[in-house]
């Protein structure tokens, strides 16, 4: 117990680091992913195949390997990034691929009749996207987005393997110093749980609410 009391401030600080990394990842990945998702629908022939290849690659490679690539191979190309920036890039790169698929799917799920009647009114392609498709797609993409955010938070623990300090790395340091892995790791699990559970809960609730109003349509 004394061990835990001594280590707690250190772990809390590390947890804050994880939250910071997660928030940055989620915001940037959402921005990039949404743009890619919209582009792959609007400019199907130009960007569609490119984005598909990108998503396919990301899905087919473990995120750990991507982190190694960024961390070890960027310097060999003469690219010396701050450790945090390097891993953040990978996390955003990875998250954007997942999110672009969600956004693309949500847009394509809006019935084609909506596009047709908007065209009939003389709206331009990007206007149809902005005023007709995206607002409708938003409803259906919020629940899967939140699920992915939870996944991305957990993915931030991978960056510990290249020595980027956050909750998981701090946990390893403390367990090595104190020799009390169970207590410390249990605490770390509780920290992750405290971050992820509310998000999962909100996601679940939105899924239910949006789902029911969807049926009413």
């Amino acid at each position: 117990m004394d061990i835990l009391i001594d280590a707690f401030p250190y772990l809390a600080k590390a947890a804050f680091q994880t939250v910071w990394l997660s928030v940055a990842t989620i915001l940037l990945a959402t921005a990039v992913g949404s743009v890619l998702g919209v582009m792959s629908v609007l400019y199907k022939h130009v960007f569609g195949p490119l984005i598909s290849v990108y998503v396919f690659l990301i899905r087919g490679v473990p995120i750990l390997v991507l982190i190694f690539v960024a961390y070890f191979s960027f310097p060999t190309f003469g690219l010396y990034l701050n450790d945090y920036v390097a891993v953040l890039l990978v996390l955003v790169f990875y998250g954007a691929a997942l999110i672009s698929e969600i956004v693309r799917g949500a847009i394509l799920a809006v019935p084609y009749a909506q596009t047709q009647s908007a065209q009939g009114l003389g709206l331009r392609r990007w206007q149809i996207m902005t005023y007709v498709l995206l607002p409708q797609a938003l409803r259906s993409c919020i629940p899967p987005l939140l699920n992915n955010y939870v996944h991305l938070v957990k993915c931030t623990s991978f960056v510990s393997v290249v020595g980027v300090w956050e909750l998981t790395l701090a946990a390893r340091e403390v367990t090595e110093r104190t020799g009390a892995p169970f207590t410390i790791l249990l605490t770390v699990m509780l920290f992750y749980y405290a971050i992820c559970y509310p998000m999962a809960k909100v996601g679940r609730r939105l899924e239910r609410n949006l789902g029911s109003s969807e049926e009413a349509l």
């Binding site: 019935p111 009749a113 909506q114 047709q116 009647s117 908007a118 065209q119 009939g120 009114l121 003389g122 709206l123 331009r124 392609r125 206007q127 005023y131 007709v132 607002p135 409708q136 409803r139 009413a216 349509l217």
Partner: protein, 286 residues
């Protein structure tokens, strides 16, 4: 704004588009709408086999025929939501969807031109397709504000006038989901009219409605026809066609079998195909 004014605005806009269009003109455009030898294929299946007809300004033309006859496809070609494979369609002095170089070659017009063209041609579909995420009023205001660049105040006024015209003033702030099918369809008509179109296209607009709701939608269309709107109406309502249309076109298997004034076509059908179509129609109604 009453319908007379709408028509007036439509006429003014037409003058404008005549003067500022640097688009090709040719002998092809003799009437307000000219459909010349239009053919269309869906893969191996030819759905339009050389369609020819014309519509003069203010005319109401009814397209009738059995399912699969190509009448809806023909209508959608008129606002280029369906492409056609050969032939030419002229509306108000412009070719629809394509530019023709006079030597048999054609190129698809840029998206901006097609969108501008469509803003002059109102279309109402069988399944209303109102935008579910915004109110009735905003459904009607969206295109005038975003496409015509009207101020919100002006667009709101126009929208309220049109809602009054289709008898739905009290539903301005309702969402589409809370309206009956007939009410949604009337909003869809108001939404199309808000663009001050030169032509209105109706694609089986009463087919999805419960029988008791059909009348309210037909009444709005009747009013519109009386106000002098040029209309092309795909319909299964033979009675309505007889009463309102200036010309009836009967299509079957991608060709026009008979066309002419309603009294001639509907009361004295010359071809066996139209006779049996009308027979079946009236049998099912009685």
């Amino acid at each position: 704004m009453n319908a007379g004014q709408i028509q007036e605005v439509a006429l003014r806009r037409e003058d404008k588009s005549l003067s500022d269009s640097a688009l090709t003109r040719s002998e092809g455009a003799r009437h307000f709408i000219d459909v010349n030898d239009v053919e269309k294929w869906f893969g191996q299946l030819q759905v339009l086999k050389g369609i020819n007809f014309e519509v003069t300004q203010g005319q109401v033309v009814a397209l009738i025929g059995p399912s699969g006859s190509g009448k809806s496809t023909m209508l959608r070609c008129l606002n280029f939501t369906e492409q056609y494979d050969s032939g030419e369609i002229w509306i108000d002095g412009e070719t629809v969807g394509y530019r023709f170089d006079g030597q048999g070659r054609r190129t698809v017009r840029p998206e901006s031109e097609i969108a501008r063209f469509r803003s002059h041609v109102g279309i109402v579909y069988q399944s209303y397709n109102l935008f579910p995420h915004i109110s009735v009023l905003k459904n009607i205001m969206l295109a005038p504000v975003k496409v015509l660049g009207h101020s919100k105040t002006k667009a709101r006024e126009t929208a309220m006038d049109l809602l009054a015209k289709v008898g739905l003033s009290e539903k301005a702030d309702a969402f589409p989901i809370n309206l009956s099918g007939g009410q949604q369809q009337r909003v869809a008509i108001a939404r199309a009219l808000a663009m001050e179109p030169k032509i209105m296209l109706f694609d089986e607009v009463t087919s999805a409605l419960d029988p008791e709701l059909v009348g309210e939608v037909l009444n709005v269309m009747r009013q519109l026809a009386a106000d002098g709107m040029t209309m092309v109406v795909v319909t299964h309502e033979i009675q309505f066609a007889r009463e309102v249309a200036d010309k009836v076109i009967f299509m079957d298997h991608g060709v026009i079998v008979e066309s002419g004034v309603p009294s001639e076509v509907l009361d004295n059908p010359k071809t066996e195909r139209l006779q049996s179509f009308l027979q079946r129609h009236f049998d099912s109604r009685s």
